[in-house]
């Protein structure tokens, strides 16, 4: 833990990418293999879930720190992070013991076998053994979903350097399901790839948002223009007589999407397609919300399969006849993809080609982008015809150009203390629109303001509070903010009757009085325009 904690501190105390990569390389070179495996696993964002109920952590802390529960909760609202609050409240260790990262993870895994009372005792004992400066990282491991200030890409870079491999190879080796307790580091990173890895996907190539005008990309003849579909990015893999579906988040979704099982019989072994999985019926793309509800279900009923049948809109071919063709130019990969889909045309394969748009000029691309919503799309994709299929998010050859979001002006009515870097500041806002004379809340938003504006709004909230409920304050309805969002749907669970997709603040409308904000009717009109009927 000492090494791992020191790695965390080094990364936490720098913003230099080079310094971070060097710290990682040092760690990988020095750490025992079992610890290095856990470190990789945690840093590339593999979820460890939660090892123990947070209520038990609170209970154990309160007992050790001799604090009344309400005072611990108040402290938590100020700190904005449970792991940190606990680390700050605990008494000094009484029985310090060194412990490796893999021992720590084994300890945390063992907690699930204990009763609540035993778990509280075990964690309390452990806390008194851990040096005070390691407790924060330890607590972050307990609460799950551990993060350190490095991207997966940086970890890959450091591993490639440490093991003298290409970044692409390391990226591929780290894909899929592997676990530190059942994997050897040689097998994961060094030895020749084994047959068992055959179900693993390739690292996804991700596009950056277009940063300049499309003209800056040069002549349009060099580019494919496609629609940007709004579904789940995935890879369909057929190898060794099996098919697998992976999401971009590296979840194996094969069982959730039975529509695609048929592909095992229809497609040749050694085929990997990249595309967008979305609900499609009667020649039309259906709303994303339909698929979300479907994914949320444990049991897929017949009804769901009928109302929201899935297809994949295919846009790339990564493996063909068992050969990795990611280095071929996109134009050639597309030809092979088209040929493959043509051969399947007569079958029931739920696969469709992502058509390229026949734009002659960049202005025509602009028009297509504007029309994106007519096709339930988010905008357009610009892909260089000569591009290979790269790994990770890269600038240069693929760009996404999304349509401008919807916007609405809302009145700030509640502020809540934020978390992490916004801790102790009122930064989580609830906004309302007018329903005749009444304000009805319709959205929460956390992001979009500059740090300076955040400070200003924080001070304003503190001075214009009507009432306090725990960490929440209601304020005099005064400030108006323009919110952007990607979609709108009906929601009986919300007071306003609508739910917004990904709302965020675009700007502070200092020029508007609260009365000038939008109304509930405005939102319902927008909803009517976007409904499936």
């Amino acid at each position: 833990m000492k090494q791992f904690n020191s790695l965390f501190q080094q990364i936490d105390q720098t913003t230099s990418t080079n310094a971070k990569v060097n710290a990682l390389i040092d760690y990988f070179k020095q750490a025992a293999p079992a610890d290095a495996l856990w470190c990789i696993y945690l840093l590339i964002g593999k979820s460890t879930g939660r090892f123990i109920k947070t209520a038990l952590l609170r209970q154990a802390t309160i007992r050790l720190a001799l604090l009344p529960p309400w005072l611990f909760e108040e402290s938590y609202h100020v700190v904005g992070d449970l792991a940190e609050t606990i680390a700050l409240c605990l008494p000094p260790p009484t029985n310090e013991k060194a412990c490796t990262l893999s021992q720590t993870m084994a300890f945390l895994n063992s907690l699930s076998t204990l009763t609540d009372e035993q778990a509280v005792a075990a964690i309390s004992e452990r806390w008194l053994e851990i040096p005070a400066d390691e407790r924060f990282v330890f607590n972050k491991l307990i609460t799950g979903n551990f993060r350190m200030g490095v991207s997966k890409q940086l970890v890959i870079k450091a591993l490639a350097n440490t093991y003298n491999k290409s970044e692409n190879e390391i990226a591929h080796r780290l894909m899929g399901n592997w676990h530190p307790t059942s994997t050897a580091i040689n097998q994961l990173l060094i030895d020749d790839l084994l047959q068992e890895k055959s179900f693993e996907p390739y690292p996804f190539f991700l596009a950056y948002p277009l940063e300049n005008t499309p003209e800056s990309l040069g002549t349009i003849e060099d580019w494919f223009i496609e629609r940007k579909y709004d579904g789940i990015r995935g890879q369909i893999i057929v190898r060794n007589g099996h098919s697998y579906i992976w999401s971009r988040g590296e979840d194996l979704l094969t069982d959730k999407f039975p529509e695609f099982a048929i592909l095992t019989q229809l497609m040749p072994n050694g085929t990997v397609i990249d595309g967008e999985i979305l609900p499609y019926k009667d020649g039309q793309v259906l709303s994303f919300a339909l698929m979300q509800t479907r994914i949320g279900r444990k049991q897929l009923s017949k009804k769901f399969l009928e109302t929201a049948p899935l297809v994949m809109i295919c846009y790339d071919l990564l493996e063909y006849n068992g050969t990795d063709i990611r280095n071929l130019p996109l134009s050639e990969r597309r030809q092979l993809l088209e040929k493959l889909l043509e051969e399947l045309a007569a079958t029931d394969a739920p696969l469709m080609l992502s058509e390229t748009l026949p734009c002659q000029t960049w202005d025509e691309v602009r028009q297509e982008r504007e029309k994106a919503r007519d096709y339930r799309c988010e905008g357009v994709m610009l892909k260089r015809k000569s591009s290979s299929y790269e790994a990770g998010r890269r600038r240069g050859n693929w760009w996404k150009w999304k349509i401008d979001p919807y916007t609405v002006d809302g009145v700030l009515i509640y502020g809540q203390r934020g978390h992490g870097r916004r801790a102790n500041l009122y930064t989580d806002y609830t906004f309302a629109v007018w329903d005749k004379e009444e304000l009805v809340p319709f959205a929460k938003a956390y992001s979009g303001l500059t740090d300076k504006e955040i400070m200003e709004v924080d001070t304003w909230i503190k001075r214009n509070t009507i009432d306090k409920f725990g960490p929440v304050r209601s304020v005099i309805p005064t400030l108006v903010f323009e919110l952007a969002f990607e979609g709108i749907s009906a929601s009986p669970r919300h007071k306003s009757g609508i739910a917004l997709r990904f709302p965020r603040i675009v700007r502070w409308r200092r020029d508007k009085a609260a009365k000038e904000a939008n109304t509930k009717t405005d939102l319902l009109d927008l909803l009517a325009l976007n409904s499936d009927e």
């Binding site: 720098t14 913003t15 009344p68 700190v79 700050l88 916004r422 102790n424 740090d451 001070t459 001075r463």
Partner: protein
């Protein structure tokens, strides 16, 4: 004897205010920070070490009367004396006694001796007005020696990489402590104008403090890394710091106990170095006064008052004051001189 009104903490018997935030006739000032020493009153009373600082803030022409620690002044039967608060140079707790009833107003204070401000002295009283800037159990500051060792180690690390060390702390109080730490190294030491002004004034007043050079643009052009610069929070994120490249910046404050406070300033390093009492110091100070009645001002007043009621069974109430409701904000805006 004391009441709280919209101008400040008021003593009717002596007809004077303590740290008023509106202009009044007679004002006792606990210390020379901007939120406690406000402009526009007719007569000021403060500790002798604060006089010069108050003039720097409010102008030379103000009517300012000085007391030394422990010296007594009687106004209409109210015996008034000042006692060390340990917050910054010249900071004082105000003790008022009238017909056997004793009140103490703490102003801002810390218990640990920082080697610069006169160390805090506990004063017995019946009514204690306390600050609560760090009045939560999450604030447990390391001993000053530990923080200054960490700072020195950081400076040394920067020196080896030929980087300048920029240290951030408000100009009156924190900056003197940072200069004292920096002076333990062999490195050249420079300061922002606001810091250099105050340091010069304090040295002229007779305080034994290391001198510091004003980091003027002309002077800095010729300087080669590594050196040290002391700057106030207001200079963070301005183009002023660019001329010191290559550098590392560290923010020195009690707020650095929380990761969020450091991260939202996009700072790589923060050192916990406070001029306020932490949780244990507050509890020690409050209980040591023997006061049955405690008035909790600026900070986490509602929470801390509740704690005092529940844990120590004191008559503790929260009092809203217009001292910065959040000292963090004050540091952001650099309202302290």
């Amino acid at each position: 004897m004391l009441t709280f009104n919209d101008k400040g903490i008021y003593c009717a018997q002596a007809d004077l205010y303590i740290d008023p935030w509106m202009p009044v006739d007679k004002a006792i000032i606990t210390h020379a920070h901007a939120d406690h020493a406000r402009f526009g009153s007719r007569h000021y009373l403060c500790h002798q070490d604060s006089v010069s600082l108050l003039k720097l803030r409010l102008g030379e022409n103000n009517h300012i009367q000085a007391l030394s620690y422990g010296q007594t002044l009687t106004i209409n039967g109210v015996k008034i004396s000042l006692h060390p608060a340990g917050h910054i140079i010249g900071s004082a707790q105000v003790r008022l006694s009238y017909k056997g009833e004793i009140w103490v107003v703490s102003g801002d204070y810390k218990l640990e001796d920082d080697g610069i401000a006169t160390p805090f002295e506990s004063v017995k009283c019946h009514h204690f007005v306390t600050e609560s800037t760090f009045g939560l159990p999450i604030y447990n500051f390391p001993p000053i020696s530990e923080s200054s060792d960490d700072i020195l180690q950081w400076i040394e690390g920067n020196r080896q990489k030929q980087l300048n060390s920029l240290m951030v702390g408000y100009a009156l109080g924190k900056a003197q402590r940072l200069i004292a730490i920096a002076a333990q190294t062999e490195l050249p030491l420079y300061a922002h104008g606001a810091v250099a002004n105050i340091q010069t004034r304090l040295i002229a007043d007779g305080h034994k403090l290391p001198p510091v050079n004003y980091a003027s643009p002309v002077l800095m052009k010729e300087q080669k890394a590594p050196y040290i610069v002391i700057m106030p929070p207001s200079a963070l994120g301005t183009s002023w710091v660019k001329k010191f490249a290559p550098y590392e910046i560290a923010y020195c404050s009690g707020w650095m106990q929380l990761r969020g406070a450091r991260r939202r300033r996009n700072l790589n390093r923060g050192f916990i170095l406070s001029d306020h009492a932490d949780w244990n110091q507050l509890n020690t100070a409050v209980t040591a006064t023997g006061a049955e009645n405690v008035y909790v001002t600026h900070g986490y007043q509602a929470i801390y008052a509740k704690w005092l009621r529940e844990n120590y069974h004191l008559n503790a109430v929260e009092v809203d004051t217009l001292y910065e409701d959040d000292l963090l904000m004050q540091e952001e805006n650099n309202e302290a001189i």
